[in-house]
């Protein structure tokens, strides 16, 4: 008689360890994917004023208009949408901002512009936001100029 049968009927045990490992791995993956999907802030070298008299950006939802240097031209972006810096691009940007303001008139609009850009490359974006506020019929739109705080700037 073989040893296998001598020990009685075979018991089937589910090994839970790899199952739990895999479940955690999937949870972590989906947490990361969810965070990256909502990301609308590309890396921008923001201005670093000395003795900055700024306030915290806070964690409430905001609409970020990014102005990024790209050679001689600039790229304007709003979330995943990109706009050129010519007149048609600025009109498109204003229209996109106006749509968002119509949905939520209290949404603050942040301008995140590269510190090395010339002012005349950033100012059209400010105008576009003002135009969007006018288009959306908003009573008051809060534009916020983004910068980095001095405490962290000093560490560099």
């Amino acid at each position: 008689m073989s040893l296998l049968h001598a020990r009685g009927p075979a018991r089937i045990d589910a090994n839970m360890t790899p199952l739990i490992d895999l479940a955690f791995l999937l949870i972590v993956f989906f947490i990361l994917v969810a965070r990256m999907g909502g990301e609308q802030l590309p890396p921008v070298s923001l201005p670093e004023p000395r003795h900055a008299a700024t306030t915290s950006a806070g964690s409430r939802p905001r609409l970020a208009v990014n102005v990024i240097a790209n050679g001689d031209r600039t790229i304007l972006s709003l979330g995943a949408k990109k706009f050129s810096d010519d007149d048609s691009g600025l009109r498109g940007l204003a229209e996109a901002i106006a749509q968002r303001i119509r949905r939520d008139p209290t949404l603050p609009v942040d301008i995140r512009a590269d510190r090395s850009l010339r002012y005349d490359k950033v100012e059209p974006a400010l105008r576009a936001i003002a135009q969007a506020a006018s288009q959306a019929g908003a009573e008051r739109v809060t534009i916020r100029v983004c910068a980095l705080d001095e405490r962290q700037a000093n560490h560099e």
């Binding site: 990361l32 004023p49 700024t54 010339r118 005349d120 100012e123 400010l126 809060t142 910068a147 980095l148």
Partner: protein, 154 residues
């Protein structure tokens, strides 16, 4: 007869594989979730209420202007301009101090402007956004609340 565990030489073993799995999992989680980006700070730049003026960025009174020049190395020219006032500043710190002395407040005998007086940052053609924001910051430090950016001359 069953042999006792002692007779078989029972060895206590720690299962390392799931522990290493979990440790690596936590490591990956923290590596991925740590954010190295610096905290962003903001300045408020409120648009005037609608109906007061045709241009939403325009200021209503004759503003005190901060004219920011083109940067040359570490320096850039800074000038304060208003009716009867024309003053240059060495840097943005001295600009903030000069503007604070001009602000009407208790304890300052010859303050010229209310803290609600409109301030206009006027960057010259070719000046950098960093310097425009420095000018804005100097006005905020000096205690003014009604600050705007001028239209650029393209």
């Amino acid at each position: 007869m069953n042999r006792s565990r002692a007779a078989r030489g029972f060895k206590l073993q720690l299962a390392m594989t799931p522990m290493i799995d979990v440790v690596f999992l936590l490591l990956v989680f923290f590596v991925c979730t740590v954010r190295f980006e610096r905290n962003e700070q903001v300045y408020r730049l409120d648009l005037p209420s609608r109906g007061t003026t045709a241009d939403p960025l325009a200021l209503q009174d004759s503003p005190l202007q901060i004219v920011v020049g083109i940067r040359d190395g570490d320096r850039c020219s800074i000038e304060l301009r208003a009716d009867g006032v024309r003053q240059t500043a060495e840097n943005f710190d001295t600009l903030a101090k000069a503007m604070e002395q001009m602000r009407r407040q208790s304890g300052v005998a010859n303050g010229l402007f209310e803290s609600s007086h409109p301030i206009l940052v006027v960057p010259s053609a070719g000046s950098q956004w960093q310097d425009a924001v420095e000018g804005f910051n100097a006005a905020v430090r000096a205690g003014y609340a009604n600050i705007g950016f001028a239209e650029s001359k393209r």
